[in-house]
């Protein structure tokens, strides 16, 4: 035990040491707990839209927003568990989201064109 709010234990049959932290309070307030709960509520609403979106485009938009919220939640967890190296994960999530959404948009466009013309589009 190095810090007062942290606890570490070893995984059985391995040498792996897992270190857990309490959530960091700011000015005596556990606001990162509240932040995680509120962003979880937002993610739940985006998840409902992802599940029951009428069209594929609704689902793509909901997935985009869900990935944004995931990047925010990762950075909140980085503060809460006092691990600043998790910010790199947030960068990677923020970049990969754009790739996924652009690929989905191209797919939507091609699918719409196939549905309109009845034949596959030649090439991009």
């Amino acid at each position: 035990m190095s810090e007062p709010g942290s606890m570490e234990f070893t995984v059985p049959m391995t040498d792996l040491v897992i270190e857990t932290h309490d959530v960091t309070p700011v000015l005596g307030l556990p606001i990162y707990d509240i932040a995680l709960v509120m962003i979880g509520v937002s993610m739940l609403m985006a998840m409902i839209r992802l599940l029951r979106g009428p069209t594929l485009a609704d689902r793509v938009v909901a997935l985009d927003l869900l990935a944004f919220f995931a990047a925010g939640a990762i950075s909140i967890i980085a503060v809460g568990t006092n691990r600043p190296e998790l910010m790199m994960v947030a960068i990677v999530v923020a970049l990969l989201t754009f790739m996924g959404t652009a690929a989905f948009a191209l797919y939507l466009e091609r699918q719409g064109r196939e549905a309109e013309t009845g034949r596959p589009r030649d090439a991009f």
């Binding site: 606001i31 609403m45 925010g72 950075s75 970049l95 466009e109 699918q111 309109e116």
Partner: protein
């Protein structure tokens, strides 16, 4: 002390915007309005939250990474939403249940069948260009 107050303020502002984005994507009636709510409010909310995280760790590298996340979000989110809106407008649901203004109709000649040698029937394209019918040809077929 100043940094903590700034951090709490930015965090609460970002959480408010994130909740607004969630409510907007759940309750808006239309794909375009849903996209507007999710992109604008979501991007601003996440940017405020990550700025608060950058204020929390008083470290140059972490602040640089937070700034990178914000820069990537602000660069990529409008492009992604523009791509989705464009593909939806051209080939998806064109009729708006709640909108009365279609400014893009004068800028493009939206007749997909004109580009294709296999032209189906003329009635379908005319019917598709009428605003407000609320259904796409993909739903009908």
């Amino acid at each position: 002390m100043l940094f903590e107050i700034l951090e709490i303020g930015m965090l609460l502002l970002g959480l408010g915007f994130c909740l607004l984005a969630g409510v907007g994507i759940l309750r808006m009636p239309d794909i375009y309005t849903r996209m507007q709510a999710s992109t604008k409010a979501g991007t601003l909310g996440i940017a405020c939250i990550i700025a608060a995280v950058g204020f929390h760790f008083k470290d140059a590298i972490i602040s640089l990474q937070a700034g990178l996340v914000i820069a990537f979000l602000f660069l990529t989110a409008p492009i992604a939403s523009h791509l989705i809106a464009r593909s939806v407008y051209f080939f998806g649901k064109r009729g708006w249940e709640t909108g009365a203004l279609d400014e893009m109709a004068d800028m493009y000649i939206i007749d997909v069948t004109a580009r294709s040698p296999a032209k189906p029937s003329g009635d379908k394209a005319v019917e598709d260009d009428r605003p407000g019918d609320g259904s796409s040809s993909r739903d009908r077929s």
